[in-house]
Symmetry: C2
């Protein structure tokens, strides 16, 4: 499928409601469950998505749109949220994410990005040259991957409870447990 600006924004706009449906009011036992040491809980995933809203997607898009100097992005801190959200509750993080996402998509829509602008280059600190189109497509895939992560983490909490059905449930053996991206 080819990237399409409005379709991408539509998918991005759905993520807060999807997370709210999955996690809103669910309680901290599910919210804080994870896949073992150094893995993310649903709470951590929402915190990581908030970091993306505050430090990654729109700030990097702005660097690209400015086209000043080498368009180099600041490195992304994947663990900023651990300190930022200590003592917070999952439901307040969900509300915060929804607010930040809505504001960021308002900004993106206000740019009325043209096909030519979508091909403007930026420089990723480790990946090198990228385009605005690739950045926005990555934002979409990043959301979807983390939604799937939340569901996988939740599913694994019942790994022993399903008894012999475990062999029919591939989500329980998914190998991406250590992915914190």
């Amino acid at each position: 499928m080819k990237f399409a600006r409005d379709a991408a924004v539509d998918v991005l706009a759905r993520t807060p409601a999807t997370l709210g449906s999955l996690l809103g009011g669910l309680g901290e036992e599910w919210g804080r469950a994870n896949e073992g040491p150094d893995t993310f809980s649903p709470f951590d995933v929402v915190g990581h998505l908030i970091d993306g809203e505050e430090t990654d997607w729109v700030p990097r898009a702005r660097i690209i749109l400015r086209q000043e100097g080498n368009n180099l992005f600041a490195p992304y801190d994947r663990f900023r949220h651990l300190e930022r959200n200590a003592g917070r509750l999952l439901d307040t993080l969900l509300e915060e994410f929804a607010r930040l996402r809505a504001a960021n998509l308002d900004i993106v829509r206000s740019w009325h990005l043209t096909p030519a602008e979508l091909e403007l280059p930026g420089t990723h600190p480790s990946l090198g040259p990228v385009t605005l189109r690739q950045l926005l497509a990555t934002w979409v895939v990043h959301d979807l991957g983390h939604l799937a992560q939340v569901e996988r983490v939740m599913a694994k909490q019942y790994r022993t409870e399903v008894g012999p059905w475990a062999e029919f449930l591939p989500v329980l053996s998914d190998r991406e447990a250590r992915s914190n991206r």
Copy 2:
């Protein structure tokens, strides 16, 4: 985490809204996308979940609760939906799933299942002895696995559009593509 009847029903009750948020009104291009030959699209996943509502979870729970004969479940047809839903639209399947799920959870709640009833046995045609508790826990994990599948299928549609970011996005290399369960 130990299985808890009311918490499990709570998670199951969320799935229609989660699917609606992900897929409602999104259009058939996303809805019919898949991971290659013999893999499920989001449309197929919703059809498969409808089959579960009509032929799997509650019918099997009823067999267990009756405790007549050998409590043997009918084999589950994982491809019933392919014929059943030919020519349908994703949005109408989403509505149908929501209606069936709500009705089934009303039935489950009406049983007021006791801890002793949750340990009652059934016989799975290939797995052998299982309990009602394991059946209900499997229903939850099955939902979560298929939600993650929908997001993975969607994410993969942008595999080439993310350019060099692909190596940072584990959802794009997930090996469970052929899982139709």
